[in-house]
């Protein structure tokens, strides 16, 4: 989960890394007060979880508190890439002599975190790595051996930085590495890290991303930052349909019938498991089908949970038919999924034979499942029909049905 800049700066500050004397607010009047307190030129920055805010007019410079208020008022109303800002950050405009970069990320291949440092900051580190590779230092560090200053010293020195700058940077980079580990971050980045006229360093912007699976062990920090437990902060916000999917999945703890993503097609998908869903979604689109949604079933969900998911999809506006398909199941039971989707059709007053374009789930308890499907006249397929073929048949059927209706 990504942090807003004002939250990330707070995390940086708590780790003992110097930051500017900024203020966060959701109110233009208060922005003026913060600027007054700062008492000099300021920068007003939109707090959005999307890139390109500078280009979009989400960052503005003010010389007076009045100007700060006017900019804040404008920025608070400015939508950037479909995101409304959470607030604005009022930041003193620091006299920066040089901008540096410091970051920590995971290396999934080495299975260790890696510190990244560059004396060229303020721009995308990937661009620096491409254009001036000798200006980017990288150093892995152990997950279990002690983290020590010399590691930061090595990575900084490897980029040609020496003198008092080196000695002042070492504790900052070490602290960044430590906060990355201790807070279960997947990204911790200070960019730019500014060197001021007096030789001191200050974090001017920060990007932090905490691992979702680890949120449970950082409840205190998240609460103090004001992050709501329900906030997912995905690339786009969850739609009401997707939130309803989460509710279905949360109704009991048995298995999964959820992970719903909304699309705008006419073919509802009740699919699984993780890899199977990805494969099936691709297959439906490859055959020219238009999925109404993505979802995942797995881990042997109950009849009522499967029914809940199927109902949600069946009731989605624009959905004409559903396709119930999974890769071969060994844990999830075919008969339970069959019962769930048939129950959903019946309770909504639909004929399962008409609403279910195809049922392709082979595996555990398939004889029992197929018997139920036969009873209701639902078109089903066993493992001799590939995922791709099943998707093709579903698309063909729904396109035929649409043509007939028209």
């Amino acid at each position: 989960m990504r942090f807003f800049e004002f939250e990330a700066r707070e995390v940086v500050k708590r780790a003992g890394i110097p930051v500017t004397d900024y203020g966060f607010t959701t109110d233009a009047g208060e922005a003026r007060e913060i600027a007054q307190r700062i008492g000099g030129p300021t920068v007003i920055k939109s707090q959005v979880l999307t890139g390109g805010r500078m280009k979009a007019g989400g960052v503005k410079f003010a010389d007076t508190p009045e100007e700060a208020e006017a900019h804040a008022r404008e920025i608070l109303e400015l939508e950037i890439n479909g995101h409304m800002p959470r607030g604005v950050l009022v930041d003193p405009r620091a006299e920066v002599e040089q901008e540096y970069y410091a970051g920590v990320v995971w290396d999934g291949t080495r299975k260790q975190p890696v510190m990244i440092f560059s004396p060229v900051g303020g721009i995308d580190i990937e661009q620096v790595a491409e254009e001036q590779p000798d200006k980017v230092g990288r150093r892995h560090f152990s997950n279990i051996l002690p983290l020590s200053d010399f590691q930061a010293k090595e990575v900084i020195a490897s980029t040609g930085v020496s003198g008092s700058a080196l000695n002042r940077l070492v504790p900052i980079v070490t602290r960044l590495a430590r906060l990355f580990v201790e807070n279960d971050m997947v990204l911790a980045e200070i960019n730019p890290l500014g060197r001021l006229a007096d030789g001191s360093f200050v974090a001017l912007d920060a990007h932090m991303d905490i691992e979702n699976e680890a949120r449970g062990r950082h409840k205190k920090l998240l609460a103090e930052l004001g992050v709501g437990e329900e906030e997912t902060r995905q690339a786009r916000e969850a739609t009401p349909f997707e939130l309803a999917g989460e509710q279905v999945d949360a109704q009991d703890h048995r298995g999964v019938a959820g992970n719903v993503t909304e699309f705008d097609g006419n073919l509802g998908l009740v699919i699984g498991a993780g890899g199977g869903s990805l494969t099936l979604f691709d297959a439906v689109r490859a055959h020219g089908g238009e999925p109404a949604n993505y979802c995942e079933i797995g881990g042997n969900p109950s009849v009522s949970k499967t029914c809940g998911l199927a109902k949600l999809v069946l009731q989605k506006p624009g959905v004409e038919q559903i396709a119930v398909m999974m890769s071969i199941v060994s844990n999830t039971r075919v008969d339970i999924v069959a019962r769930g989707v048939i129950k959903a059709c019946l309770e909504l007053g639909f004929d399962p034979a008409e609403k279910i374009a195809i049922f392709r789930i082979p595996g555990a308890w398939e004889e029992e499942g197929f018997k139920i499907l036969e009873k209701y006249g639902v078109d089903y397929a066993d493992r001799s029909v590939s995922l791709n073929e099943a998707a093709r048949r579903a698309v063909e059927k729904i396109q035929g049905a649409s043509a007939e209706a028209a």
Binding site: G108, N143, G274, G276, R383
Partner: protein
């Protein structure tokens, strides 16, 4: 032969009294020649048994009861306790650890893997279904109940490596139906950091005489496919590889996570199209459809076979 496990492999199940673990134990005991599950561990449950397997409080007790080194462990305990359970296994001399548990934070996984490496142990997973040697042994829930596993998996020349547990079975079933059995199939897990990647398992398949070709299931997210492409090129692998890439639609949806925790497009290198290009460069064929895999791998094996 096989990789990682064979008919003589001894292992324990940590968290054996959990509902899924009880099923998994039954399945492994029933499959093939019957797994040698020499004990189970659930703290506080010493003296019980699960399908005849004795339960202990500690791994050390299980080792003492067995009277010698135990080779493997299947770990299926809640995410908050997994790291400790794996450390316990490693420090008691376990060599091969299959972690079934999902939703373990990366930091914990990285710590487990680093300790395992220091001690010469190997981790498969987390978030995986384990390993199966068709008709011989399975270690983990892979393939499900013995009857179902026997329907999908048959012995033969193909090594299968998959980031998706379910798709390991789907692909193996398709191979079996085309007369291509499997030497060993490994569900490696769907997380961003896992104990054993494709490239880390390749040397084992390379050394296995039974294996004549490799089939892998891949997804967007991470650098594991790039690592494999490099490995294959640098080591001039004797084994032809066919890959299947799921989740191509995700290229249009950066930042969104689908399927598995590790499946997210965060940068250009994570995309399906970038990965397909890299694999192709290394001579790894990428199948559009699962049903195309048997024909493709057969052709590649024939191509490489000495006349």
């Amino acid at each position: 032969m096989s990789i990682l496990i064979d008919a003589d492999t001894t292992f324990i199940v940590q968290g054996i009294t959990g509902r899924e673990a009880v099923n998994l134990t039954r399945e492994c005991l029933d499959y093939g020649s019957g797994a040698k599950i020499v004990g189970g561990v659930t703290p506080g449950r010493l003296g019980r048994d699960v399908h005849g397997v004795p339960v202990f409080d500690t791994v050390a007790q299980a080792v003492a009861h067995h009277g010698g080194r135990i080779y493997g462990s299947v770990v299926t305990v809640p995410p908050a306790f997994t790291k400790d359970a794996v450390f316990e296994a490693i420090e008691n001399g376990i060599q091969l650890i299959v972690i079934v548990t999902e939703r373990i934070p990366r930091r914990d996984v990285a710590e487990m893997v680093e300790l395992a490496t220091l001690r010469g142990a190997r981790i498969i997973g987390p978030n995986c279904l384990g390993i199966i040697v068709p008709d011989v042994i399975k270690m983990g829930g892979i393939g499900g109940p013995a009857k179902n596993a026997a329907q999908a998996y048959t012995p033969g020349p193909i090594g299968v490596i998959s980031r998706s547990g379910g798709m390991t079975t789907e692909m193996s079933s398709t191979l079996s139906a085309a007369g291509l059995g499997q030497s060993t199939a490994v569900s490696i897990g769907g997380d961003a950091i896992i104990g054993s990647s494709y490239a880390e398992l390749m040397p084992l398949f390379e050394a296995d005489e039974q294996t004549r070709g490799i089939v892998i299931y891949t997804e967007p997210g991470g650098r594991m496919e790039a690592e494999l492409a490099t490995w294959v090129t640098v080591n001039e692998s004797r084994l032809p590889i066919v890959a299947f890439m799921a989740g191509r639609f995700m290229d249009e949806m950066p930042g969104m996570s689908f399927g598995h925790a590790g499946t997210i497009v965060e940068g250009k290198e994570d995309t399906a199209s970038e990965k397909i290009a890299r694999l192709a460069q290394a001579g790894i064929a990428v199948a559009e459809r699962i049903e195309d895999i048997p024909g493709m791998i057969k052709a590649k094996i024939t191509e490489r076979a000495p006349a």
